[in-house]
Symmetry: C2
Subunit: 146 residues, 2 copies
DNA sequence: AGCCAAATGAAAACGATTTTCAATTAGTAA
DNA sequence: TTACTAATTGAAAATCGTTTTCATTTGGCT
């Protein structure tokens, strides 16, 4: 936790961004949760300790962190995105309920063969991938099933 | 193509929805494209043949079709959703260059085993998936490499 | 201590989506 | 066919999330 925050600040500095109290607060909020947080949820958490921060600053900080690949973005149903601190060991993906938004993590994605095939065919250098399954959780399919 | 439209109308009728010229037009627009279309893109296609339709009607029709599972929703970067007629085998994915934005399509994603494992473990009903590889195309890695 | 580009916050602008409401229409029953 | 009615439609307004603008402040450097 502490380590993640430190590493994130280092990375910001290394890329020429300034360390401000507001950015620290946003980083702490995201790193302090193992849940995916929407921009509004991050804003609410940050405001507890830092009531004067603007929602704009949250959006701007998210943009910087995502640009550096320090947080990862998830798209749930509707038009709603959320963010999670990217931790080195935690490569994982999501199974998302389009109805209620429930998110289930999974880790074994087994995309290595596909990746090397794509590298050979396209000569791209591949840095990562985004994989999400969309559907309905058990509860929601029960409700709809009737 | 014709078949898809017919089947979609049947399904609407079966669930007590009325068949209107506007709904026909929206269905034709989505079924007539093998690309993912945003609500606005659907609206533009529909207007060519049906200039008086309202964007609201497009949204409402999308909602109905998605509710019945006849179209599937994709979330691309930012806050942008798009829709594709659900056809038993036609989908594709993207390999995206983070530097210049070039997009390469590919189709064999081979996720069936993973999908059935997830269905078994989570009891989700899975409607679709989003898979994107991110990296650098040959040209951009040359530029950066120097 | 002083400089300056980067960062901030308030407010306005923006684009996408939803709600409201009065008028129209598809499907059905007489 | 005609009449009925609940569903559907479109225009406009409202709402929501996000971005832009701009004047002010501040972190990092000399
Ligand atoms: Mn997760
Ligand atoms: Mn494509
Ligand atoms: Zn659910
Ligand atoms: Zn490129």
């Amino acid at each position: 936790m502490i380590y993640t925050e430190k590493r994130t600040e280092q990375e910001l500095r290394k890329n020429g961004f300034k360390i401000t109290p507001q950015r620290r607060a946003v980083i702490d909020a995201i790193a302090g949760s193992h849940e995916h947080l929407t921009p509004a949820a991050i804003y609410n958490r940050v405001r507890r300790e830092h009531p004067s921060i603007g929602l704009v600053t949250v959006y701007r900080t998210i943009e910087v962190l995502a640009g550096l690949g320090l947080i990862c973005e998830t798209h749930a149903g509707g038009s709603c995105r959320s963010y999670l601190m990217r931790r080195p060991s935690e490569h994982h993906h999501h199974l998302i309920c389009s109805d209620c938004g429930k998110v289930v993590d999974f880790t074994n994605c087994d995309l290595d063969d596909l990746e090397s095939r794509l590298v050979k065919e396209t000569r791209f250098k591949i840095n990562g991938h985004l994989l999400e399954f969309l559907g309905q959780c058990l509860e929601c399919s029960k409700i709809k099933g009737r």
